[in-house]
């Protein structure tokens, strides 16, 4: 895993090596083992290396033997061994054992379609000096980040926004529409980011840059059109096939020249991942967990049980309210985005533990909930739709009580009040965004905090409307359940989970996460499953549980799903708050940053100080404001 950066001059000049050095220096945390720069005509590539495969000859930027193609690459191509053999059979000659060189030869053989041959997680740029073309690509799921911008005389790209901002002529302002998306969907929708004129390549897309001409192209899109194609297979066969795929996805993700560990949360997905690693790798395995002082969030007993059942040596980091308040500013330095929950913070502490334990690579369980029917939001949508068919039913809304058992406020509500808020209208039912409307509408209420100037800059922009028009053309033919799966996998997963909570937190401490559930073969298989095998009535991840039954402790198989969460606002107003909290939330700082109305921020802060805030919305408001204010102080010219 590494950090990459580079530039392409539009004016025929040569990129300035000093400028490239400044950019790559900001990514030292992603690649502390070596730095490299190569300038070839109008293109300059830079690389910060975290050595994982081919420790001796895998240095970058790397070129083909004839120096026509140069690459800077962040990530892993897990099927590089098979691809290498395939390419050798076609006459290619390799000088190293690295996956980086495989990309170069695959590009030479297959052109821009080379990415369709890769099974992995990547962000790379290839400079084709003969064609005078820069080819950039990002993996299917969006595991690895890749940002770009254009200045007056150059195109610039990098793994993180801070590297682009290290270049003097890149603007440092919030993008009002990107921020409007953050306060709707929890993350901007690519190519937008939270910053003006800074963009990101969407997952499963490539970008070709020739002169000033930029061409963005989608190379893969999972389709649910054939949903149910695997209906003829009985449950047993389907479970066997899923397990075999996961086993192979794990096997190729263990390809590494350094030791590999596993994250163990105590839930089904990470326990199965850890069990598969143990099964495939055989020998001793280190696992890593987060424990919370606050028992509402702590899953230690399940982690210990999973660890002893599977046979791992488990280490954990303890996370207190004070820890969350203490490291939030560092976390925001890495998320480069406002966050609405503190859940990334413990992930930051966890990667620190992994790094200090001498590990660079961990396998983790992300991706199962999206592809295999794990989320409460899918259940919620199912119940809302089921109820809407008989709006006067007395008992159907009571099913809502089955949701969110971990939210005490929610459980205390009467059936009458649940009916009020989840009552579905005809318009809602007709919306392609049906599954996510309650979540997005709740989050959108936070926009009331925006200052009038900032609202004016957002103008008539309609985040939901824009998203609706960008859905795939076949979206409307998919089953309702799969429409929700798509919204989750396409936007929330890469935009927040794999980024703010994933890559950015792990790479803050030079740790690479690998995700067997995001192997595209697993995702494509899951898309063809009948939906009732993913969620049987309200039993989530039905087929996955079946596939896991000989590998995971029965108590973990049967436990109620508890989403990973961390203490939010209570970390900041408990009598021992950090001084930066008052500073960045002061009316002066809020006015200077320009995003929020100082009066509105004062109102929410007062509510917390008085101990009167208790709703989910209040929590999100506070964390959203605090993280945005930190971001403003760290990244903008406020």
């Amino acid at each position: 895993m590494c950090g990459i950066a580079g530039m392409l001059r539009f004016d025929g000049g040569q990129p300035d090596a000093h400028r490239l050095e400044k950019m790559i220096a900001t990514l030292h945390h992603r690649g502390p083992d070596a730095h490299g720069i190569h300038i070839s005509g109008i293109a300059g590539l830079a690389h910060a290396r975290l050595s994982i495969i081919d420790l001796n000859t895998g240095q970058q930027p790397m070129s083909t033997e004839d120096a026509r193609l140069w690459i800077t690459f962040n990530g892993e191509i897990f099927n590089y061994i098979e691809l290498r053999e395939e390419l050798i059979a076609k006459g290619h000659r390799f000088l190293t054992r690295s996956d980086t060189e495989v990309i170069l030869h695959a590009y030479r053989e297959y052109g821009e379609d080379c990415v369709k041959h890769f099974n992995g997680q990547w962000a790379f740029a290839i400079w084709d000096s003969a064609e005078q073309k820069l080819f950039l690509s990002r993996d299917r799921a969006g595991v690895r980040p890749l940002f770009y911008t254009q200045s007056q005389n150059a195109f610039l790209f990098a793994s993180e926004i801070k590297a682009l901002m290290a270049s003097a002529d890149v603007s440092r302002e919030f993008d009002p529409q990107g921020m409007d998306q953050v306060f709707t969907f929890w993350s901007p929708i690519p190519p937008r980011t939270a910053f003006k004129n800074i963009f990101q390549i969407p997952p499963a897309h490539s970008l070709t840059v020739k002169g000033r001409d930029l061409r963005l192209k989608e190379y893969w899109s999972p389709s649910y059109l054939h949903n149910g194609d695997l209906r003829h297979r009985n449950e047993h066969e389907a479970a066997e096939e899923l397990l075999a795929l996961l086993q192979d996805a794990t096997r190729i993700r263990l390809r590494s020249d350094v030791p590999v560990g596993a994250y163990l949360s105590g839930g089904l997905d990470s326990t199965l991942t850890t069990a598969l690693v143990r099964k495939v790798a055989g020998d001793r395995l280190r696992s890593f967990s987060i424990a919370f002082d606050d028992t509402e969030f702590d899953e230690s007993p399940y982690q210990q049980e999973a660890s002893s059942y599977i046979g791992t040596e488990n280490s954990h980091v303890s996370c207190s309210h004070a820890d969350i308040a203490r490291v939030l500013p560092q976390v925001i330095q890495h998320t480069e985005l406002p966050i609405l929950r503190t859940a990334p913070v413990p992930m930051f502490l966890l990667s620190k533990l992994v790094n200090r334990s001498g590990f660079k690579v961990v396998l983790t369980g992300e991706g199962a909930d999206e592809a295999l029917g794990g989320y409460d939001i899918f259940k919620e949508a199912k119940i809302r739709r089921f109820w809407a068919n008989h709006p006067d039913s007395k008992w159907r809304p009571l099913l809502l009580k089955r949701l969110y058992p971990y939210l005490s406020d929610f459980q205390r509500q009467s059936a009458a009040s649940l009916k009020l808020f989840f009552k579905t209208t005809g318009d809602d039912l007709a919306s392609p965004l049906f599954s996510h409307l309650p979540r997005w509408e709740l989050t959108s209420r936070l926009k009331l905090l925006f200052s009038s100037d900032f609202r004016a800059q957002i103008g008539g922009f309609n985040a939901l409307g824009e998203l609706e028009t960008s859905l795939p053309s076949e979206f409307h033919s998919w089953p309702h359940f799969s429409q929700g799966e798509h919204l989750e996998a396409r936007y929330f997963l890469p935009g927040y989970l794999l980024s703010s909570q994933g890559d950015r937190m792990a790479m803050a401490h030079s740790v690479e996460g690998r995700y067997p559930f995001l192997d595209y073969r697993v995702v494509e298989f899951a898309a063809k499953l009948p939906v009732n095998l993913k969620m049987k009535v309200l039993n989530e991840k039905y087929l996955l549980k079946r596939a896991s039954k000989n590998l995971v402790p029965p108590s973990i198989l049967s436990r109620r799903k508890q989403p990973y969460r961390a203490p939010d606002s209570r970390s900041f107003f408990n009598g021992s708050s950090q001084s930066y909290v008052s500073d960045v939330l002061s009316p002066g700082s809020v006015k200077k940053a320009g995003v929020f109305d100082p009066r509105a921020v004062a109102a929410i802060v007062d509510k917390f100080r008085a101990g009167k805030a208790s709703s989910v919305k209040d929590d999100m408001a506070l964390i959203g404001v605090l993280s945005t204010q930190l971001l403003a102080s760290q990244f903008t010219n406020q």
Partner: protein
């Protein structure tokens, strides 16, 4: 308690509690359910009504008829207060 007092108390609570102090975001007849109170915040309204006006809000009374707008909340509180005073005076 006068209608205007009840209305003022209710509005102040709604503005401070759900609208980050922004009074312009609250219209008398606008739907509180669509734009003001969220699903996890309704309990706060119930607790507020009970504590401020000394009434008991029954589960089945949490309906659009009673809490859909400021006017409806005020009318609901008035009905409850009237019922309570009727009980007290033995009427």
């Amino acid at each position: 308690m006068q209608t205007t007092d009840i209305e003022r108390e209710v509005k102040t609570f709604l503005i401070n509690n759900y609208l980050f102090g922004k009074s312009e975001a609250l219209a008398d007849n606008a739907s509180l359910l669509d734009n003001v109170i969220d699903s996890t915040g309704v309990l706060e309204l119930v607790v507020f009504l009970q504590e401020t006006f000394g009434i008991t809000v029954e589960d089945e009374e949490v309906t659009p008829d009673n809490i859909e707008s400021v006017n409806k909340v005020v009318a609901y509180v008035e009905r409850k207060l009237a019922k309570r005073s009727a009980v007290k005076t033995g009427r």
